[in-house]
């Protein structure tokens, strides 16, 4: 894949998985953020939460301009999931691996976003786990059992290289899905 083109990628996952942080880590310019005070400390103790979207931009070395959209995590904002997925080529699904519900979250979000667009590829980034954590394989198997094949990485979303790995992997998956050029045609 090369040439000057624009693509849109959506970051999603549960509240506190690091969507806003991930986009901030790779966006070329300070991202648009819609964080407000979090009043639901029972679900997550963090002080703020995204209620509309995050938006950042990333220019890759091959000239590809990537628009980065982050969703709110909570189900009550699921209307934003559908809006933000319009025109998106793929989904980066982030999880907090230190929570007991990570695998359940993975399946819930993967199925919700599969319903929104059955053709979108996923890449999974699991935070707050050792990079070689044995549970990463379990996550991949849990997805596979639902007919979803997606690469799973242990990541630190504060690290630009880790988030870029997710983006580059998603682009590789997209490229693999593209139809082969018809060399026989003239």
């Amino acid at each position: 894949m090369s040439g000057d083109r624009e693509i849109k990628i959506v970051f999603t996952g549960p509240m506190g998985a690091g969507k806003t942080t991930a986009i901030r880590a790779i966006s070329d310019a300070p991202p648009v953020s819609t964080e407000v005070a979090n009043t639901d400390r029972a679900t997550n103790a963090k002080p703020t939460t995204t209620v509309a979207l995050d938006y950042g931009q990333l220019l890759l070395e091959d000239g590809t301009a990537v628009s980065l959209y982050g969703t709110p995590g909570q189900e009550r904002f699921s209307f934003m999931w559908e809006i933000l997925c319009r025109g998106s080529l793929g989904v980066v699904l982030l999880l907090d691996g230190s929570t007991a519900t990570a695998c359940q979250d993975l399946q819930g979000y993967a199925e919700a976003f599969r319903r929104i667009d059955p053709n979108q590829p996923f890449v999974i980034g699991v935070g707050r786990v050792p990079p070689d954590d044995y549970r990463l394989d379990e996550y991949a198997r849990a997805l596979g059992a639902r007919g979803i094949v997606a690469p799973v990485f242990g990541v630190d979303v504060r690290q630009r290289e880790d988030v870029l790995l997710l983006i580059e992997t998603l682009l590789c998956v997209l490229e693999a899905q593209m139809p082969e050029p018809d060399h026989a045609a003239h």
Binding site: V32, S33, T34, E35, V36, A37, N38, T39, D40, A42, T49, V51, A52, L53, P72, Q74, R76, F77, F79, M80
Partner: protein
């Protein structure tokens, strides 16, 4: 279950409900009003039991945050309210800004009531809510 009023005691929420009821009943064209937290939880709504109240509360939160981000991008600040005019009526989202964390009042009106009258009445309702809710947050 989704929490709906973390910050306020039941008596305060009841007062907010009464204020919303009086506002809806007294303002021509207004069919629905919901008070919600900045992060999209319904605190009080009138009429009660409207199925879409929770979704409207969450959408108000998204729209208000996005409006503030857009105004900031445009070099503006101090969002006062957000107006959606449609063929069937009007939706107004107002910040109940003196309460911390900020709340939103969303007003749905049908028909052709003038925007100025709607805004004036909605701001009066916001002021009443602030007077009642502000002491509860201190």
């Amino acid at each position: 279950m989704q929490p709906t009023s973390q910050h306020f005691q039941a008596a305060v929420v009841e007062d907010a409900l009464r204020l919303l009821e009086a506002f809806v009943d007294a303002t021509p064209g207004v069919t629905f009003a919901v008070l919600s937290s900045a992060d999209g939880f319904e605190i009080a709504a009138h009429p009660r039991g409207v199925a879409r109240a929770r979704r409207l509360a969450a959408m108000s939160s998204s729209l208000q945050a996005l409006s503030e981000a857009m105004a900031g991008e445009a070099g503006l600040e101090g969002i006062r309210n957000l107006v959606i005019e449609s063929n069937g009526g009007t939706v107004i989202v107002l910040g109940v800004g003196k309460v911390t964390p900020r709340l939103s009042l969303t007003v749905v009106a049908r028909g052709d009531e003038t925007l100025g009258r709607l805004l004036w009445a909605s701001r009066e309702c916001c002021a009443s809510l602030e007077r009642r809710l502000l002491p509860a947050t201190n």
